[in-house]
């Protein structure tokens, strides 16, 4: 790697840009040199949050799939962050059981890196949607799809390198991660309903006591 500049492209903060172009080598290097950084993760999540909100609020009216009156920014934000946390947690839980070598921070870094192409493309397409009209929307959707596929490839190779898995085992672990996610959602939903009932029970009792 040629290195004669003051900007250290191999520093943990600029490293994601290298991973974006060379996922496999990048993650190998990341694992070997312990370049996982909580700052990168945090920045990626914040950027993702911002881009999701920006996409909903600022897309040109003719391409905006969201009714302004029916879109809640708070809900979007919460869903975004919770999604990130839950995916990382569920993969961590599964891979700890499956003898994966990755730490939670590594997994979060992989997820953050996988998000980056989507974040950039979504931001650019949202800006471009102010100038594109009608059928030209196809190009924007196409770009977003490509970025998502590229993100999936990054995530896949990242998990494989970080956990030191074989190809088949990576797929297996991903399937289990999804199952784990579903179970987590189910339990969360159940808890939510349970606590809601408890809440209303307490409220009713209070009501009865008061009158």
């Amino acid at each position: 790697m040629k290195k004669r500049t003051g900007f250290d492209t191999m520093s943990p903060y600029l490293y994601p840009f290298y991973i974006m172009r060379h996922p496999r080598d990048g993650f190998l290097e990341l694992k070997a040199n312990k370049k996982s950084s909580p700052v990168v993760v945090l920045v990626a999540v914040v950027l993702w949050l911002f881009v999701e909100l920006f996409y909903r609020a600022a897309t040109g009216y003719d391409m905006n799939a969201f009714e302004a009156a029916e879109t809640s920014m708070l809900r979007t934000g919460v869903v975004t962050v919770v999604m990130f946390v839950m995916v990382c947690a569920s993969n961590w839980m599964i891979c700890t059981l499956m003898e994966g070598k990755g730490k939670l921070l590594d997994i979060c870094t992989v997820a953050a890196n996988a998000l980056l192409p989507y974040i950039f493309v979504r931001f650019i397409t949202t800006v471009l949607s102010w100038f594109f009209a009608g059928d030209e929307q196809v190009f924007l959707t196409y770009a977003v799809t490509v970025s998502q596929i590229w993100g999936a490839i990054i995530a896949f190779s990242g998990l494989q390198e970080v956990h030191e898995y074989s190809f088949a085992k990576t797929i297996y672990s991903i399937i289990l991660t999804v199952v784990c996610l579903i179970i987590m959602f189910f339990i969360a939903l159940m808890l939510l309903i349970l606590f809601e009932q408890l809440y209303y029970f307490v409220v009713t009792v209070m009501f009865e006591l008061r009158y």
């Binding site: 003051g6 009216y61 003719d62 009608g134």
Partner: protein, 486 residues
């Protein structure tokens, strides 16, 4: 002093109560339109001009009248079935003639109770009366002199065992009668003046539905006997009513059902529906969870606006000639401007809508309000593509009813045609018209690019260079940065 205050108070109370009575006698505001299947309140497009009852007509009270017709001279013909007569009113709704005895070859014919159809043919100034329960059609002049009596038409194509109950009748410019009969669902019977059957006209078409598909699936599996036992058949519905318009089209209304392709159609001489956009009252009423809509009559006025009446809810739906909803008015009730059993409607030369109520035994004449006229003219200009002229009426409409989405779209189109794209975008956004918005946006962009073409190209080139050589550029920038620091 005290007494004076008391009398003053009494006077005040009297005045107030009389005011309250005056208010309660006003027409209730029940007009609405639809915005993507959601009903939105609207300004009244029609108001009651006069309610024509026996005191206005100057004759015996109507009794279960079934049909109304308005001719070119604005004479009004009412088929007063319960009294077995035809009442003719002049422009001012006064009775000028009352035909109760029909003389045919020195024999007096009386109408049966429950005669359903009436038509006045301008070409020979003859009344065609469908005398439903006597299974015949009378052709009579205005003095009650019957020139022809048509019983069941003869023709090889017509099943001789079929029961013939003529309900509604229209006559075209060639003298061919189109008759609907209560139990015939294959279309209207075309009968020529020699009473020979020419064929069926304008059969309603069926539409494939999910339940139909399930039924066909079972039929393809089960045996022929089992299929016969199931007894489920899919048949088209018969016409509820027909309307002959001056531009020689036949408008029909049929019962709403899931498998009926269109319940409102405009038929050409061949009996084919020529509506480009259809009036889909079935879906509208399904989304609103209203059942039992029965369209009883349709009329088209001199400007081409189509009015349809629903007998169960008393609503009148008015569309322009391109089937865009203008307004929905009327309703069920005993107040002025509401109806209990609107069996038939007509429109006169002033575009008033005359509603015949078979249970109130009156004719309600509804006249257009200023708002109604503005909506109508704006829609008309819009339909003609005269967008710039339509700006003024659209603005008037919006001033009175800001809920009318179509007005925003219309204004957007107008501003696009004038080249004011930003204004157009704003109106399209208000009208929730994404296609129009995209069109305006594309035009605005193209115009801007054309204006600043050189700059646009420069920016694109710079961006391209940066994307292609960005590593080298970063190198150069950082070298300069370090030199400066040293």
């Amino acid at each position: 002093m005290r007494r004076r205050i008391g009398s003053l108070l009494l006077a005040l109370v009297l005045v107030l109560t009389s005011l309250a009575m005056a208010v309660s006698a006003a027409q209730p505001d029940r007009t609405y339109t639809y915005e993507e299947d959601t009903p939105v309140p609207a300004t009244n497009a029609y108001q009651v001009k006069i309610i024509v009852d026996e005191s206005v007509m100057g004759t015996k009270q109507l009794n279960n009248p079934r049909d109304i017709f308005v001719d070119h001279e604005d004479r009004i013909f009412i088929l007063d079935s319960g009294n077995a007569r035809v009442v003719v009113l002049d422009k001012d709704y006064r009775c000028i003639k009352e035909i109760s005895e029909f003389i045919y070859k020195d024999e007096v014919l009386t109408l049966s109770d429950g005669a359903e159809g009436l038509f006045f043919r301008e070409e020979n100034k003859m009344l065609y009366i469908a005398d439903t329960n006597n299974d015949r059609i009378l052709v009579s002049d205005l003095d009650g002199k019957v020139s022809r009596v048509y019983t069941k038409p003869v023709g090889e194509l017509l099943d001789p065992n079929l029961e013939y109950k003529p309900r509604k009748i229209i006559v075209d410019n060639m003298g061919i009668m189109y008759v609907t009969s209560g139990n015939i669902n294959t279309g209207a019977l075309m009968v020529d003046s020699a009473n020979s059957f020419l064929g069926f006209y304008g059969t309603n078409k069926l539409k494939m539905t999910a339940s139909m598909q399930v039924e066909f699936f079972w039929r393809s599996i089960l045996s022929a006997e089992a299929n016969k036992q199931s007894g489920v058949t899919f048949q088209p519905v018969e016409f509820n009513n027909l309307f002959w318009s001056d531009d020689r089209f036949v408008y029909t209304v049929s019962p709403l059902s899931e498998d009926t392709a269109t319940s409102v159609s405009k038929l050409n001489a061949l009996g084919n529906d020529v509506f480009v956009q259809s009036i889909d009252l079935y879906t509208l009423n399904k989304t609103r969870k209203i059942s039992g809509v029965v369209l009883s009559d349709i009329t088209v006025d001199s400007e081409g606006a189509i009015t349809i009446v629903d007998i169960t809810t008393g609503h009148l739906y008015q569309y322009d000639e391109n089937c865009n909803l203008l307004s929905v008015f009327g309703g069920m009730g005993y107040q002025k401007g509401l109806f209990t059993q609107p069996v038939s409607i007509e429109s006169d030369s002033d575009n008033n809508v005359l509603v015949l109520d078979a249970s109130k035994n009156t004719v309600t004449v509804m006249e257009q309000t200023f708002y109604g006229r503005m909506v109508r003219s704006a829609n008309y200009l819009y339909g003609q593509g005269r967008y710039q002229e339509s700006i003024e009426p659209w603005m008037e409409v919006l001033r009175m009813n800001a809920n009318y989405t179509q007005a925003y779209t219309g204004l957007g189109k107008a501003y696009i045609s004038m080249g004011e794209y930003e204004q157009a975008m704003e109106y399209f956004k208000l009208g929730k018209d994404k296609e129009g918005y995209a069109e305006a946006k594309a035009s605005l962009r193209d115009e801007t690019i054309r204006e600043y073409f050189a700059y646009v190209v420069a920016v694109v080139v710079v961006l391209l260079i940066f994307i292609l050589f960005y590593e080298r550029i970063i190198d150069i920038v950082s070298t300069i940065y370090w030199r400066i620091r040293k």
